[in-house]
Amino acid sequence: MIKSIFWKLVLLILPLVLIADLAVLLGSYLITYNATMNKCREDVREAALIAADDFETADVSIKKDLQDRTERFDSLCNIMGMAYIYAEIPDPDKGCKTYLAIGYGKGALESAKEAISTGYVSDVLYEEEIRTFTNDEVTFCRDDTEYGDTIVCYVPVKKNNSSDNSGAEKETFCIVGAEMSVSDAVNTVRTRFSYIMFIIIVTSVLIVFIIAFILKRKIQKPVTLISKKMVGFIHERGNEFVPLQIKGQDEFAKMADSFNSMAYEIDRYIKDISKLNREKAMQETELNIAREIQNGFLEPKSFHAESADIHSCMLPARDVGGDLYDYRILSDGSICVIIADVSGKGVSAALFMANAITLLRQYAESGLSPSRIMVEYNDHLAKHNPNMMFITTFIGIYHPETGELVYSNAGHNPPYLLSDRLIEIESSFEAAAGIFEDEQYTERRIKIKPGDTLFLYTDGVPEAKSTDDSLYGNDRLRDTLSRNLHRPGEVILSSVLESVKEFSENAEQSDDITILTMTIPEIREYSLKLEAKTENIRIINDKLLSLDMEEESILTLRLIAEEMFVNICSYAYKNGDGTAEVRISQNGKKVRLVFIDSGMPFDPTKDILDIEDYDPDINIGGLGRFLTFEIADEYSYQYKDGKNILTVIKDFSS
């Protein structure tokens, strides 16, 4: 796999150039070869003519003369560069020839010198020799025999008849042949051509490489530059983009221009997007702050009072929401609970909610009845509501002394009362607050027993969506609530949230979900009248174990009860038998234990042991009192009507 553009170019150009070289060389070779051959023919012809001229005067009958001729032929050979010059008489009839004289020159083979001399008869006779002898033609032929590869020219020799010089036709009596070695000439041509070929091919290859190198520079340099720039565009972001500069007007320059304009566009887009992202992040930060501020408006999630146990939650769908809840103990000891839902979501709803919650608190604190609060609050909202937003609101005030909830409902989902059965709080459907001034609101009442729970919620609960867009609905809500009658408010609240969560799975929460539960504590009271004997602790234990409380709490109550009961047995009645009464009263997680005996007056809250000085053999009862009052949240002692009365209170809700 050839990766570099340079080698690709070389491989592409080189064969083409070499083919062209070979064609040129072949052509030149052929032309030179032919020219050389022609020159040879000229030379042999000239030599033959000179020799023939000379031989005309020879007298073949004189041996000495033939010897002279032979010598002259030798020198002629050397002068003219011939291999052989000879005179012969061909005999066409016999197909042979007889040598009269023969001279040797350069290129003559030793074998020929030895074999051929005057009078030698050769049985090789060419057609050209016959034609020269019979027709007086000058002929040429190629003579490639054991005596070398030669070009031959045959010239006729006329008898020089001195006696008859009148111009009568002379008779051809022999022919002269001059032979020149071809192989030498051909070898010279070939040798020269190999040099030329070598030089041309080497030059061509060099030129190809040079061309490829130049092209490579022309192509590869800008391509490398562009590709580096493209890579750098991503990796060196953050630096200002330096445009790609390629001179000229070729395709690469155009490509660089296109790249530059594309890079500028991308750069601009990226800047736009980063700006948008920054703005979005800033907005989100502000919304987060807004959400925190909004959550700050709300009361804590849980609240425990003697007369009510309140749990609440608000889960905004996105960012800030328009739901609100509120609860407070009013100056007369009644408890005000409020839930409301602003139309719409987001910042506008949150701002409206902030105003609404402030007004509601203000009017609730002023001691008005729910319907009066609603009227004042509605008037105030409606006066300053250019956007015509509205807020459905439920206000309830629970009076512990009568066990009555007085409420007013401005278009809000009717709350539920979890009593012996599930009761929907009857509501007259009145306009949501914030739209019309002078709207009148009615007031209703409902009894709430200890142990009952009032369940307030916003429509985010029944309108929670599942992944297939179906709604949680009131039926599911009622089912969940019905299954949780007589349970603590926090359990009811978490059961509903869990049920909604299970229903909606991973679907995005579409609306704010707000819930408030108010549970009226059920006070359970028990009285045990017992003989003051330590084994009766068992009876107290059994009663404590029957309380609906956590095991750890019961163990703590057992400790207090045992220590105080043993105390009565060992001190109050140390001189005799007697009875003691233990009263247990449970109000939710708060338990009051009262110990009454008619024994010797003894204040167990006094002279509590200094634990540093504890000795198990001396301070036999001290450790129990120490532990009891360490654990207790409140304790008091009085001696009244001949009775020791000790009250210990432990609140497990904290």
Partner: protein
């Protein structure tokens, strides 16, 4: 309350099951006394003790007084019991594992 005694050389392990309160603490005292002649070291395994009152604490402190604080080990205490022991300040002078 049940106590299972397990003597290994000079160490006596008492595995207690049940509540250690006013009525049962005497049993613990007795069990400790019984192994004292043989053993100098006492381990109280309280894995199955859910409840302890001041009488039970008093038994533990009495035992500590008898064998010395280095030779009494309390093992597997439940959280609520640990809380009570901490409240008294005895935790500092007891070997609790």
């Amino acid at each position: 309350m049940n106590i299972v005694k397990n003597i290994d050389a000079d160490t006596c392990t008492l595995s207690i099951e049940g509540d250690i309160d006013t009525t049962s603490s005497a049993l613990l005292d007795k069990a400790v006394e019984e192994c004292l002649p043989q053993c100098s070291r006492i381990v109280l395994d309280m894995k199955d003790v859910k409840y302890i009152s001041s009488a039970g604490l008093r038994s533990i402190i009495k035992t500590r007084k008898l064998v010395g604080s280095d030779n009494l080990v309390l093992r597997n205490l439940r959280n609520n019991i640990m809380e009570i022991i901490k409240m008294t300040g005895f935790a500092r002078s007891l070997n609790i594992e």
